[in-house]
Symmetry: D2
Subunit: 343 residues, 4 copies
Amino acid sequence: MKFSFKNDYSEGCHPRILQALAETNLMQQNGYGLDDYCLQAEDIIRKKINNKNAKIYFVSGGTQANLIVISAFLRPHESVIAAETGHIFTNETGAIEATGHKVHGVPTSDGKLTVNHIQEVLDHHQNKPHQLKQKLVYISNSTEVGTIYSKDELQRLSSFCREHNLFLFMDGARLGNALSAETNDVNLEDVARLCDAFYLGGTKNGALIGEAIVINNPALQEEFGFHMKQKGALLAKGRFLGIQFQELLKDELYFDLAKTANTQAMKIKKVFGEQGFHFLAETFTNQIFPILKNSEIEKLSRNFDFYVWKKIDAENSAIRLITSWATKDDVVEEFIREVKNLK
Amino acid sequence: MKFSFKNDYSEGCHPRILQALAETNLMQQNGYGLDDYCLQAEDIIRKKINNKNAKIYFVSGGTQANLIVISAFLRPHESVIAAETGHIFTNETGAIEATGHKVHGVPTSDGKLTVNHIQEVLDHHQNKPHQLKQKLVYISNSTEVGTIYSKDELQRLSSFCREHNLFLFMDGARLGNALSAETNDVNLEDVARLCDAFYLGGTKNGALIGEAIVINNPALQEEFGFHMKQKGALLAKGRFLGIQFQELLKDELYFDLAKTANTQAMKIKKVFGEQGFHFLAETFTNQIFPILKNSEIEKLSRNFDFYVWKKIDAENSAIRLITSWATKDDVVEEFIREVKNLK
Amino acid sequence: MKFSFKNDYSEGCHPRILQALAETNLMQQNGYGLDDYCLQAEDIIRKKINNKNAKIYFVSGGTQANLIVISAFLRPHESVIAAETGHIFTNETGAIEATGHKVHGVPTSDGKLTVNHIQEVLDHHQNKPHQLKQKLVYISNSTEVGTIYSKDELQRLSSFCREHNLFLFMDGARLGNALSAETNDVNLEDVARLCDAFYLGGTKNGALIGEAIVINNPALQEEFGFHMKQKGALLAKGRFLGIQFQELLKDELYFDLAKTANTQAMKIKKVFGEQGFHFLAETFTNQIFPILKNSEIEKLSRNFDFYVWKKIDAENSAIRLITSWATKDDVVEEFIREVKNLK
Amino acid sequence: MKFSFKNDYSEGCHPRILQALAETNLMQQNGYGLDDYCLQAEDIIRKKINNKNAKIYFVSGGTQANLIVISAFLRPHESVIAAETGHIFTNETGAIEATGHKVHGVPTSDGKLTVNHIQEVLDHHQNKPHQLKQKLVYISNSTEVGTIYSKDELQRLSSFCREHNLFLFMDGARLGNALSAETNDVNLEDVARLCDAFYLGGTKNGALIGEAIVINNPALQEEFGFHMKQKGALLAKGRFLGIQFQELLKDELYFDLAKTANTQAMKIKKVFGEQGFHFLAETFTNQIFPILKNSEIEKLSRNFDFYVWKKIDAENSAIRLITSWATKDDVVEEFIREVKNLK
C-alpha cells in the first residue's frame, strides 16, 4: 500500500486522545455540551485567547462550523465575501447558499483577501435594495492553497471590517498550521482580538473529529445554541468533543502536532527547491504545490499517493502534497530520495 | 455524585469500540466515508437487512439524520406527517422547517401513528395547490415515550404509504431497544422491507456518536452524498463512524447492548408495578414512566437523578427513567431497594 | 350563469380605481414604489393611523405580505404562533415554513387567539435550545371564519406580547370588513397602536390587487425593502399599487366598500335566522356559515354558487356565503326569496 | 419635468389594456388563475408557440418568475449557471440563493452565455459530491446589456444543455424587444422549442404588471401551482393578469409595442453613430449605451433623465438610454436635436 500525501485526515487521532477517551469513558456526564470536559476545554481556550467573555462551541466538522456561524450571524438579505478559493465558495456543495445566503467570490493570486478586494465588492453593490447587503468577510488561515495571513494583513482587514460594519470570520480548519509556520507572526490572542469569530480546527490536526468555534463579538454570542441544534450539530455526547480539545490544548500538543506537519512539508519543499523545481505558490505550512513534468509525476506516483492539482501546460502540472501530525520521518526521507532521483 | 437515569447517552462508549479505534488508529484511509471500515460496515448492514441494494450513510447524530433524509427526499411543496410527540415535531429546534418543510403534528395516545391518523391529515389537505402535498410519514421506533410498533402495525402503515404515494421513514435513534424488547415481533429485515428509509441509532446504544442511515427505496438513493455534504454531515474522518458500526454489528453486540438497557428498565418497572404504582404508558424498552406522589419523587431524587416528565395532578407526577447499555446491576438493585421503601 | 357567493374576489375593482388608473396612465414615474402615488398613499395611511413614523410597503397579495413580514422579522430559530384556522397555518402551501420558520397551530373555537393560547404554547417550549423560541403572534382580523377582535381583546394580546417580547402581527386581508362590522369597537389607529405590524387588504375590498403592509415598530422597519425585492414583491410599476390605495383611502371609499359587503351578508344572515337556521359561528362581517339540510343545500345551489364548508352530520352541513363590495341588492333579494322558500 | 429614458416601466399600460379591464370588470370569475381570461390567454400562447402541451402560468414580476421557476425545477444540491450580468446574479437581492441555490456567475463580453462558458463551469465542478451539481442554465433575451441571441446560438445552447442534462431557462423580461429587433432571426416558436421554460415579459412591454411563464418540458410542468402559491405569486384575482396577456397577444399588439420601443432607440442610436460616438456594446433593441464626454452628459441631462452606466475613463462615460412602447416621436426628435448640438 502506497503512503498517501493526499490530505491531513488520513489517520485516526493522536494516541493521547484515545487515552483520554478511555480514562473518562464510564463517567456519567450531562449531554449536549454541558459536560465537565467541554466546560474545561472552553476555559482553556478562553485563557489561551485572553478573552474571558468569549463563547466557545464544539462541532463535528468544518463545513458544519461554517454554515452554522454564517447563518446564525446574518439576516436573510445579507451576504458573504470570500476568496474564490475559499472552502465555502466551491468545496462545500453550496452549504452557505442552502441557508439562503450568497457568497461573493473574489479572484485572488494567493488565496488571501485584502481590503481592496472587499472594497471592490462593496462598490459593485451600491444599488440598494436591488443588490445584497454585504455583511460578513470569510477568510481561511492557513488558506486552501497553504498561504498564511500576517499580523499586519489581519489588522488591516479587521479595521476595515469594523469601519464598514462587516463581521470578520476566520475558517481555522488549519489554524494550527498557520500559527506554527516559520514565517508566522500572529498568535491565537491576535486572532481572537481581530476576528468577530473563528474556529480552531481539530479534524486536520490530531483530533478524531471536531472544531472549536470561538465567538468574540458579544453581539453575536446570543442564542447560538439554538442554531447548533437546528442544524443538527448539538451532539448528545458533546463530551466526546470536549475531551479531545481539552487534551489537545491543556499543554502545547495542538501546536506541536501542527509544527510536526509543517516541518515535514518544509523538508520536502526544500529538496524540491534544491532540485530546481518551482512552486504554484510559496507556502510555509503543511501544503506544498511543486510543479513537475508529467513523466516525473508518474514516477513519483508509483510509490506515493497525492493529488495532481493543476495543469500548467501540456507537459507540466502542479501536484499537492499534504503532510500531517502523523507523517513519519522515514516516509519523508524515502520520498525525498525519490525526488532527488527524479532528474 | 448521584447516579443518573436521565438518559442513555450519559456514558462514553462500549470498551470494544475504544479498542477498535486504537487498533486502526494509524492506518491511512480515504476520507469522507470511502474508507475500508465504512465499506465493511455497510456490507454488514446490507447482509443483516437482507437487501444487497440498500445504500448506507453514516452521520454523527439523530437530528442531522432526520433533517438530511427529509430535505433530500422532498420537493419544496411537500410536507411531513408525524406524531406530536415525534422528535422532529418539537425537540429539534425546527430543524425540518429550517429546510423549508412543514411537519403536520398528530396527537396520539401512545406516540404511535396509525393509518387513520395519516388519512385524517390527507383529508384535511384536499384544497390543492393552496395546501401542502403530504409526502413523507415519520415514525420513531421505539417512540419518544418508549412504546414500539408491532409487525402488523408497520405492515399496515407501509401498505397505506405505498398506496398513497407517501414515503415511510423510521427514526431509529432507539431502534436497538425496540427490536430487543420482549414484546417485539419485528426484525431488522422487516424494517428494511417496510420502510423506504430508516436509521440505526448508535449514540444511544453504545457508540461514541453515530447513526447509520439506510435507504431501501432505489428512487431515493440517488445523489444522497451531496445532501450530506451540503448539510455539514460528511465527516473527513468518516472512518470514525465506520469503525464503530463495524464493531457494533459484526456480531450481536448492538442488540446485546440494547437488551441490557431494556432488561434493567424492566427490572425497575416490575418493582414499581409490584408496589402498586401506575405508569403513564406501558413500555417494554429502556424508558419507563411511573407515576409517583411528589413526596415520593423527592425521596427518590436524593440519591438518583431523573426527569420529572409530566404533572398528573397537584400531588402526583410521572417521572421518566432511562437505562442504558452501561447501567450496572448494583445501581439497579440499589434503586429498587429505594423504590420498595417508598411506601 | 349562477351568481357566486364563493368569495369576495370574484369581480374586478371599484370603477373609481379604473378611472384613477386611466387618469395617471401616461405620467412617467419612478419605479419600485418611489412614484408619487405610492408616496401619497403612504402619507394618507400614516395620517389615518396617526403614526407619522410608520413605514408602509405595498405588495400584490396576502400570502406574499405574510411571508415577507414574517421572514423579515424573525431570526432562523424563531417561530410563529397562530390559530389552526389561521391562513398561514393551512392555506398558504407552507409559505412560512418555506422561509424556514415553524408555525405553532393552536385549536380555537372561533378563530381567535387569546393570551391563554399563547401562554400554553410558551409553556410547552421551555426546553431551550432544543425547542424553538416563539417570537411572533399572527392573528387575522376579521378571522378566516368571519369573527372579529374587540378592542379589549386586542389590548390584552398586545400587552401580553410586549411583556413577553413577542411581535404582534395582524393579517388584515379583510381588515376593512372587521372595522366596518356593526359589533366592532376598534379603529385603524387602535390597530396601529397595538400591533407591531399589520396589513390593510385591498384585493378583497375593491382593489384589483394589493395589500398595504404597515410597520409601526421602529425596530422592524429597517431594511424592509431588501426583503421585498428578495421575495419578488418589489414591483417595477409599484405605481399601480399606490394609485389604488390612494384612491381607496383618500376619502371613505375603503370602508364604504367593506360596509356594503357586510350589510349584504347581514341581510342574508337575518333571514336565515328568522327561518330558524343555526350558524357554525356567529359573525358580523361579510362571511356567514348557516347550517342546512343537504336537500336544502341542493336546492339553493341550483341558482347560486357557494362552498359547502363543513359536514355537521349525515344530513346537515354548514355552507359558507361571502359577499363583496360588488354584491348587488337585487341578487341578495333573489337569494333571500329562495331561502324563505326552503322550508 | 424632464422626460426620462431611465427605463421601460415609467409609464402605465397601453390604453387597450385599460379598456379590456373596464369591459370585464364586473364579470364574476373563478379566482387563482382559473378564470376565463387566463384560460384564453394560455390558449393563445400555446398557439403562438405551436406547443399544445405547454403549461402557462402568470405572475406579477420578473424576479418572482425567476425565483419560482428555479426553485421549482431544482433539488437542493443543484445550481444555476448565469452570466455575471444576468439579472438573477446581481440585481435581485439574492432571490435565488434565498431559495437555497447557488448561481455560478460567468464573465462575458456581451451578456451572452456560450457553450464554452458552460463547459468551463462544469469542468471546474468535477469533485462530487463536494461541489454542486449544475442543473440549470439561465439566459436573458434580450440581455441586460441590450444584446440578443441568434437562432444558431440558441440551438447550440439547447443541444449542449440536452446532452448534458441541464435545463435551459430564458428570462424574457424583454423578449418582445429581442424578437422584434431588426437583426433577430428567432421566433416565439423557436424559443419554446429550444428552451425548457421561458417567460414572456409584460411589465416592460405595455402591461401594468405581469409575466407569462411558459413550461415546455413536460417533466417540469407537474405541480407548478404549489410553488406559485408557496412563494406568494398565486393572485386571488389572477384574472387581472389573464386579461392583460389576452389583450396583448390576441393580435400583434405585444410585438408592435416592442417594435415601437426598438425603433425609437434605433433612431437615437443612428444619430449618435452619425455624430461619431461609440457604444459600449452594439445593440438592436430598446437599450443603447453611447459613450460621451462628461461635459456632454451634463448637457444632455439638463432636459432628459437617464442613467450614467459605466465610467470609461476620467473624461468619458457610457450612458444607458431605454425607450418604451410609450416613447413618443416628438420626444425622440427633441432628444436627437440635442444630440446633434452636442459637438
